[in-house]
Amino acid sequence: MKTQWETVIGLEIHVQLATRSKIFSGTSTVFGAPPNTQASAIDIALPGTLPVLNEAAVRMAVTFGVAIGAKISARCVFDRKNYFYPDLPKGYQISQFQHPIVGAGSIELRLDDGSTRTIRITRAHLEEDAGKSLHEDFAGMTGIDLNRAGMPLLEIVSEPDLRTSKEAAAYFRQMHTLVRYLEICDGNLNEGSMRCDANVSIRPAGSAELGERTELKNLNSFRFLERAIDHEVARQIEVLESGGTVRRETRLYDPDRDETRTMRTKELSDDYRYFPEPDLLPVAIDDAFIETARATLPELPDQKRRRYVETFALSDYDATRLTDDPEMARFYETSATSAMQLNLSYGAAPKLAANWVLGDWSAALNRDELPPNHSRVTPAQLGKLVARVGSGAISGKIAKTLFESLWRANDPSADVDALIKAQGLEQVSDADELAALVRKIVADNPGQVAQFRAGKEKVFGFFVGQAMKATQGRANPQRLNELLREALAAP
């Protein structure tokens, strides 16, 4: 019988903390500066320079720890991790080995079927990033950019609790959401603000023992993570089923070729010669510091989702999608609130706002490749638009056109009502006006009237079309339908 394999995955996520300056120097952390222009004497390890810990990085790590219910170390220690590489200026990385700042915690992973599973987090520690080696563009040489050297990282290490590539991607995504809610990371994956290493092994289903694992390095998107794991699992199954053994090694995922390949084997175990960093004192974190972090925690994604379901009567699915991104949630809530304020009697405002945010608004952002906080329509504008649709003042179709023109205008001062009025977009719902129109259409098209009355139901669309044409689409479709039916039924 064919062996059923179970996949076991643990993730190490490197989160670049959103501090203004580097973790051990005062150098700016702004992304995208020309190479080596954000590299101070400390960052390039000139002789005699010393690290000084950035308190903001400590605060962010503690905030994370509190959010995952972890124990915060009263005293944490920085260590030197020693290895030579041209983009590592000191010849060692300052990291935390034995006494990390954040101890064991957990998150509730939400699965596709709506159930949740606890994923244990082993620890999270502070460390500095290395610079970048640029292997292209230098004709056989390697360029070194030290702007990234000394950027603050929080490395979040999970237990091997994940079982599928989908779960791994969902966990990565959920962490991505969490750190942005906590405002400790900008979450820009394409700028390397979050990178992930996956430890992957397989074992026969039901086995309690772990198989030999490989480490997949530097995965910076949810999709790459999922695909890299899928490939690696397939490769390991093939190795084992053909009688081979999986070697402990570090592998690199190549998204262009969609494969993983050996980076280095760990047969000769790396010896990083960790020892306590003598240039930094152990960091004492008192209860008051931790309590302040706890007291100032923002509403977390789960809490927000539950609130949307309970107070906005949204579906779990919509609430989840809206709360995935804190900026989207913020936009949504402002839109929904202003819609409700304009149209209090309209109970469906939150639902209608959700449809608009998840529909046209998200589509427009995607189309223009803009992040939510660069929306060309303000939440107040969208709220008003939603309110006017909800009240029946404008039709849904007109609203879509109006949304597009608002988006194009990119003018926060543009007023939805003024536009409706100026462009004469108000829906025609007036019974007398519509009745007169219907009478005229019926009178003008005796042939079509006869066809309809002879049972040709399809011709009904012709009359709707005529009415919409005459009102430039502003006729209230429901009222129009009723009146047309009435007029056409009676000979």
Binding site: A41, I44, A45, L46, P47, G48, T49, L50, P51, V52, L53, R80, N82, F84, P86, P89, K90, G91, Y92, I144, S269, D271, R273, F275, P278, D279, L280, L281
Partner: protein, 488 residues
């Protein structure tokens, strides 16, 4: 005697000359620059002389002296050990690796002295990366002892000590990791203070062993050390190990605070002192101090014998990683046309570092390696704690400890070739380094025409009390006023 024109005048005396307008800072600076130019070929105490810069600083100092904004040290010329980074002036650390290195910043200790108006004559010779007890490991050649040029001046701050002894500078900075201020002070017949760890900022001071390195002054008298320390010491936000409430900066004002002290004589030190000729000097020093009203008691520091091996594990371990940055990639020496990355590393470091530095890197790397870490590094850290506890316990009953500075007088250059024998030079100095406590080294006699040095070791941040005790001793003796023959 008018101190100006006397190369062996103290800072205190020279400051009086400047204030009473007997001479200007420019004249004083020229005087020392001229002596360096004429005489230093025999001693090799300077690696770099900064004549133009010194004269420019002296002019500014003279202006301050004229307009009444002068500090106690304004206009006084001194030298810096070439381990302190000096903005726009080469800092070599005695190594080929940094032969071309110019820092874009001043070490905090240098900046503080500069701000006080001190004039920098130049950068003094030292053992490479401060690893040595004789100044023989310098890439720039050995410094010679002004008392006998066939002998070493001690190390690693040998250039600073020799420059003072030869009257080429009235004072200098040094650093002490395991005795590098105190032992050269003893060999060269000058005074030196290793402050409490955390007292003087390590920023801009090129690291040897981060948990031990401490900058401090060398000078002709204890009074001068106090003047310098008061300016050099202080909290520095750029050094995380710098003490917030360290040295209060009033040592120069409390030098006459000659309270009768209880002084401990650690029996282990004197058991290790095998040369009876030196013992006579220490006995005489004791009698002098007793006459001044101080009381001696026997104390025990049981872990003294473990200090040298402990020190060489801890210091080498830290050094092995502190020196990893010298890789030929960003600054410093780089080998010619490397084949690949490994070749770049190997040849750069093989060429750039001398033998002793390589030995320490290898020793330290070994001590930190998997499988040896517990047996060496961790064990050394545990022993270090015991050594520190010895001192803390001793200071429950005594105000200070009295000890030899070095096991012998200055030895001839080239005499000690066995590294382990060389390490034994540090037997009386490394315990205080490991404990992080301050120690004051000062001359207390002569043996065969060569200076003999003693030290007072005190509790953490007791610099002022140690200096007051030393000043009391120097008021009763004149060993510190002796000068080598033929140098006036």
């Amino acid at each position: 005697m008018n101190p100006f024109g006397n190369p062996f005048a103290t800072l205190t005396e020279l400051a009086d000359s400047l204030r009473s307008k007997q001479c200007s800072s420019v004249e004083l600076t020229r005087f020392y620059l001229d002596r360096i130019e004429r005489l230093d070929a025999a001693y090799n105490s300077f690696i770099t002389v900064t004549a133009d810069r010194a004269l420019a600083q002296a002019e500014v100092a003279d202006a301050r002296l004229r307009n009444g904004t002068a500090h106690a040290l304004t206009g006084l010329p001194i030298a810096h050990k070439d381990i302190f980074c000096t903005k726009n002036v080469r800092t070599t650390c005695g190594s080929r690796m940094l032969d071309n290195f110019v820092a874009p910043y001043d070490a905090t200790a240098v900046a503080r002295l500069d701000a006080a108006g001190v004039v920098t004559l130049g950068k003094t010779n030292m053992d490479e990366f401060a690893m040595g007890s004789s100044c023989e490991t310098s890439y720039y050649g050995c410094t010679r002892n002004p008392w006998d040029v066939e002998r070493v001046p001690g190390g690693s701050s040998g250039g600073s000590a020799a420059a003072i002894a030869a009257g080429l500078a009235p004072a200098a900075t040094g650093t002490d990791t395991g005795g590098s201020i105190r032992q050269p002070a003893a060999f060269s017949g000058v005074c030196g203070l290793k402050p409490t760890y955390g007292c003087v900022s390590r920023f801009g001071m090129i690291a040897f062993a981060s948990s031990l390195d401490q900058g401090g002054p060398l000078a002709r008298t204890v009074d001068d050390l106090a003047l310098l320390l008061d300016t050099m010491a202080g909290f520095d936000p750029r050094d995380s190990t710098s003490a917030v409430d360290g040295h209060a900066g009033h040592a120069a004002r409390t030098l006459h605070d000659a309270k009768p002290r209880t002084i401990g004589v650690p029996r282990e030190y004197f058991q290790l002192l095998t040369d009876p000729a030196l013992a006579a000097s220490f006995d005489a020093a004791r009698r002098t101090l007793e006459r001044a009203g101080h009381r001696f008691v026997d104390v025990s520091l049981p872990h003294t014998a473990a200090a040298v091996p402990t020190y060489y594990v801890v210091a080498s371990a830290e050094a092995s990683t502190n020196l990893a940055r010298y890789d030929g990639v960003r600054y410093g020496h780089r080998c010619e046309s490397p084949k690949d990355l490994t070749d770049l590393y190997e040849r750069t470091r093989s060429e750039g570092f001398g033998r002793e530095v390589k030995r320490r890197i290898l020793t330290g790397t070994y001590a930190l390696s998997i499988g040896y870490f517990d047996a060496y590094y961790l064990k050394a850290q545990r022993v270090r704690r015991l050594i520190r506890d010895d001192f803390v316990k001793a200071f429950e009953t005594v105000d200070a400890l009295f000890a030899p500075t070095a096991p012998s007088v200055a030895f001839p250059a080239g005499q000690i070739s066995d590294p382990v024998e060389m390490y034994q030079q540090d037997v009386f100095t490394v315990p205080a380094s490991l404990a992080g406590v301050p120690a004051l080294a000062l001359p207390c006699g002569f043996h065969q025409g060569l200076p003999v040095g003693m030290q007072f070791i005190g509790p953490h941040f007791s610099e002022s009390a140690l200096l007051a005790l030393g000043a009391d001793y120097q008021r009763a003796t004149d060993w510190h006023r002796r000068t080598p023959a033929g140098l006036e």
